[in-house]
Subunit: 272 residues, 4 copies
Amino acid sequence: MAYLETVRGKIYYEIHGDGAETLLILNGIMMSSSSWGPFVETLKEHTKVVLMDFYDQGKSTYLDGPYDQTLQVEAVKDVVAFLALKNFTLLGISYGGEIAMQFAAENSECLKQLILANTTDYTDLQLKAIGDNWVHAAETCDGGKFFKATIPTIYSRAFYEAHKEWLDAREVMFSNLFKKPWYDGFMRLVVSAETHDAREVLNQISVPTLIIGADGDLITPIDRQESLSKAIKNSELVVIKDCGHASMYEKPNAFFALVIGFMKFGGKTFTI
Amino acid sequence: MAYLETVRGKIYYEIHGDGAETLLILNGIMMSSSSWGPFVETLKEHTKVVLMDFYDQGKSTYLDGPYDQTLQVEAVKDVVAFLALKNFTLLGISYGGEIAMQFAAENSECLKQLILANTTDYTDLQLKAIGDNWVHAAETCDGGKFFKATIPTIYSRAFYEAHKEWLDAREVMFSNLFKKPWYDGFMRLVVSAETHDAREVLNQISVPTLIIGADGDLITPIDRQESLSKAIKNSELVVIKDCGHASMYEKPNAFFALVIGFMKFGGKTFTI
Amino acid sequence: MAYLETVRGKIYYEIHGDGAETLLILNGIMMSSSSWGPFVETLKEHTKVVLMDFYDQGKSTYLDGPYDQTLQVEAVKDVVAFLALKNFTLLGISYGGEIAMQFAAENSECLKQLILANTTDYTDLQLKAIGDNWVHAAETCDGGKFFKATIPTIYSRAFYEAHKEWLDAREVMFSNLFKKPWYDGFMRLVVSAETHDAREVLNQISVPTLIIGADGDLITPIDRQESLSKAIKNSELVVIKDCGHASMYEKPNAFFALVIGFMKFGGKTFTI
Amino acid sequence: MAYLETVRGKIYYEIHGDGAETLLILNGIMMSSSSWGPFVETLKEHTKVVLMDFYDQGKSTYLDGPYDQTLQVEAVKDVVAFLALKNFTLLGISYGGEIAMQFAAENSECLKQLILANTTDYTDLQLKAIGDNWVHAAETCDGGKFFKATIPTIYSRAFYEAHKEWLDAREVMFSNLFKKPWYDGFMRLVVSAETHDAREVLNQISVPTLIIGADGDLITPIDRQESLSKAIKNSELVVIKDCGHASMYEKPNAFFALVIGFMKFGGKTFTI
């Protein structure tokens, strides 16, 4: 609904609701701010929601050269500064979780809480190989081929069995929606994640942190979230069962229950 | 704070807060309504909270003969009728979860949602043997012996390593607090659970249901919650990691985030 | 080393060793009898080993039209009959496991034992989607693209981190080795597996059965082997940790220890 | 069948078979060399088997004062020296695994391989609390009470459901077999394990090592074997499913398949 101008271009953002609490959400790599559309009406009953598109994503500027994730961390800093966000909850899923943990390691002071969903502490060689394959699929600029190459490992077996029609419609949507600029941006995003490694800075995260995993996540399996959980001091790890990588789509009730619930109960101290 | 008189005796209950939503909580076997004390102040910011003690528990009447769990289901029905609770969320942990699922199978119409934590669809022979051991420990009426016989499988390894002093103090508390009437009541409660088997009626539960498990739960391990999840149609299963059977004590932030979050997001339908 | 002529063409097979016991091994879909080469010398110290290539695989005849797996089950029957194998152990991995369980359901009387590794009771929609993607990758007849599209989900994260050079060399090997006839055969094999569903006949398997899974298997995750384990009466399930789908390559010591050990201890009855 | 005299007393041992390979087995804390009786006939077809009772166990000398596990490690050294065992495989389960890893850390040169089943790198506070409870149960010298206090966490739910009669008979056997000297020895064994901590020396183990876990092991859960697996360089971890702490009793076919198979395939190097 609005754009922030930066030296690099425009960053698209949306603000929903006007609660006392603020939730800033960072997208996964194939997503955009519009991916959260189905949930915004319910979310804004409980919190102000800020959505944003990374560079090369959604309605933000598509960039030229290769870059690494520090550029996207800067984008988050720019939005936070521009909107003067303070004491807010930062939620990132997958790629957005990678950016979120990097942001949190350097900017804990402006955060109230951190929520990391279906993400990883670093890009290991298997994940890099998965990314390489996604790039090869994107190079075809063919929605059907791209869908077939990426989606089978993103959704869980249970979701495939239950939502075949939705997935078939999704494949058609991919073909209609994604054009060359989108694929080019997607490839730059994938490449920017290749060097992600937050292992040395995770101990700088001091805010209460909820880590969400899913037992059927093939892209960032639970052992990656277990590593995050061990490295982040004040963290708790919860696993959604019968759920794949896109947990907020597969199990929205459990996912947003955790998000909204943790905004209210995370970091509380109880004397038992 | 108040008592309900029934044909069998008194049922103690407490009401906290006055929100539009209502959460009725059913205790585990070693607990009482006072076990929720540390959390009530925070909980009541988000919902009206109703606590109650089962017969043979806390401030409710201690009964005489042996009985099975239908008597405790009746106690819940009596409280629900007396307080005219409608469209409320029912949360039960462990023994309380067993009663909650039996209540829900027959009384879905008065429920908005159901939350089952660290509980089981039936008492298998290993769980019965654990119960037998608890009875033998209770027969000594010796707090130290009772503590040593029951607690090591209730709390997780992680909790033991982190909270040794609290556990040592807890052992002293057991000796001071628990007297013969308590142990007699405890034994009757254990015996009443021996014949628990809800497997035939779980498919009658129609309200949105959240099932909470814990990866270090030795009493009701995750495979019991997986069975519940398969049998209850409209359910989602979430597992708290590095956590034992008394999940609300070990990981209160994650536990109550799930409870309060599910009260707000459970059962919503989203068109993705 | 030899060929069996059938009405459909030639089936290539090898016999190694001359022990009293016989182990017949069925390949995964990207494998051939030569994949077992590194292990044959050690295996034949303990058992006679019979290897074979399915139609459309290795040195067996490449067929024309589409077919389903019953044709490959016939190939196994032909080899068993021709070599007069009796009271032997049948080991199948992945696709070979699918054929093995179908063979065993109808021919338990000629088997001593069955070993099913990294396989599934049926092709669910997610696995079918993975297969579709493999077909699309094979259509390019480009070894590099085929490697990138298939291998990241076949080997585990631990294997990727430890064997980068081997995997890089493997990618070169794919380009050199695989030509259009191979890709055509591969695609027919994938299509033949699409309709695999042994769920109705697994209860006919009466011989002692060992089921091997791997915790990092993304193609046929552990829950598929758990289903096999529940459906096959006389079975035991063992999971190799830190291991992906190609378990015999990733953890050969554990894999063949299980195979050879089970040939000696499987099905024994002990009075404890 | 024979005794070795030491400065501390007698160590009972048995030798079965005369194969080229040797397997030395160390017992769990409630076991003795006779616990392996049902399996010896089959085992000796494949390897020479050496059994021994620790001090305070079976037919070995019952000692006086408290001691730690170094005394039992000495007992193993004495047996190894007396029988001039070289290049042998050492298998330890539970308590026996603790002794085995301590022995292996200092005596890798005489070992060919090491197998650690259902054991732990150190006695954490929860395990210590379980041990305390066992001591309290042993103090009663009452077989029924001792059985009820210890067995429910030793056998798995699946085993309980399938072997109720065997377990009932076992309870009677406990009452008939165990007398005060046995209970006194058992308590000393438990106390000796309280200070077990091999975490600093596990990196000294250089022989090929197989680690066996069980998914239903409540005494030494899988995360303990995962720690062992990370700390021992040349190790592989395999998990037996639907199995509790006494894995060699619950799943003897899988257990001994792993043992005998690993004696033949462990430590082999294959060029794939």
